[in-house]
Point group: C2
Amino acid sequence: MMLKNLGNISPSLIHRLPTYLIHVQELLKQKIEWVSSDELAKALDLTSSTIRQDFSCLDCSGISKKGYNVQFLETCLLKILGIEYPINVAIVGAGNLGHALALHEGFIHYQFIICAIFDINPEIIGKRIGKIIIQGMDSLKRVIRQKKIKIGIISVPYLAAQDVADRLIDAGIQGILSFSSVHLNTPRNIPVVNSRIVTNLLEISFMIRNVQQNTNEKEKES
Amino acid sequence: MMLKNLGNISPSLIHRLPTYLIHVQELLKQKIEWVSSDELAKALDLTSSTIRQDFSCLDCSGISKKGYNVQFLETCLLKILGIEYPINVAIVGAGNLGHALALHEGFIHYQFIICAIFDINPEIIGKRIGKIIIQGMDSLKRVIRQKKIKIGIISVPYLAAQDVADRLIDAGIQGILSFSSVHLNTPRNIPVVNSRIVTNLLEISFMIRNVQQNTNEKEKES
DNA sequence: TAGATTGTTAATCGATTAACAATC
DNA sequence: TAGATTGTTAATCGATTAACAATC
């Protein structure tokens, strides 16, 4: 299977890809072989049009009257997401969150191998989290190169986040997942995704109000 | 300060609000009094046009030649985000992640008070995480009502996520932050934000490839 | 005053939805 | 065959950017 030019894939579609994969894998578990764009749309709060556009763009074709083959969709999505083979990941910051992430079981299922964890605190360097030993920041560059680590997860206090990002990039990391609230400045060729825990709560706080207001307005209208 | 009709605020702006707040608070710490749309744009990888449009929409006006008053921006943003007063939050799922979230120090700064944590596992019910005692799921409805908890954080295994969401909504929760990868089906008036840890990694995996391909293409062009 | 920066309108860009012919 | 569902084109919708007059 040749990949189409990925330049065609829009940011919003990229954002939907993991959602598709996770749902499709759930269907596989349930031994469902075929799924229509309409069924997918209902399950994922999308329109069937969007789903057909997306799959067309990904070159995952379906069959009239039957829908899309679930197994084929998974194969497609795994390939497009680039997780046919394991990807090595490092965590920087072994506080509560870093600790929890190192033990998180959800990663391995998607071929993300947490194979190093770093911290600046000498008191915890050398200690174990699961099977991994916490290492000092001075080992960062060497270990990342040695183990061919591609993705760095940043779970340090926000004041240190930019510095850690710079060091990860210097060490040759290819992408960053940041749990810090601050905006990280990185070269254009290093994708950064922010896992916005606190900011997500702020969004909900806003939406709670907004939804209520909208609901009130609708009540007034009717 | 009256709030404009919030219906005008687009989803993309909602998404930027927390970013603005966090950056503005950093400027305040640095005792910076005025900031221009151009400076903000450079710091946050946006265009000055977007920033002026956003602030205009929020009714946060600036002054020609000076820019925007940082203190006023913070006041505006706090009000719009609805965090002038503390908001009570409950966590469901006291595994690694739930545990880390309960101890996370970033929440309190934005007035999110973690005031309950629930789990289904009888072995850990009654144990402490920081100042909070893990409670059983049968206490969920009562405690949420008693403590006027508005936001529920879901950090349970994905198979249980939808059920927990239903129970939280039944208990009267107003918004949900989910750490599960599955898409949650909820009534329209209950906002759900997904903190997509695993899915974020999947996105990075995709982008690493895509960025490389784009870079290659650009090299070919030049 | 001259120049910088806002606020706002209009233009562009991109994503979603609608519609329907093609197909199984 | 008849009917359901895809694949694709065109229309709509919304968000971002450009441009510039107003203003301090």
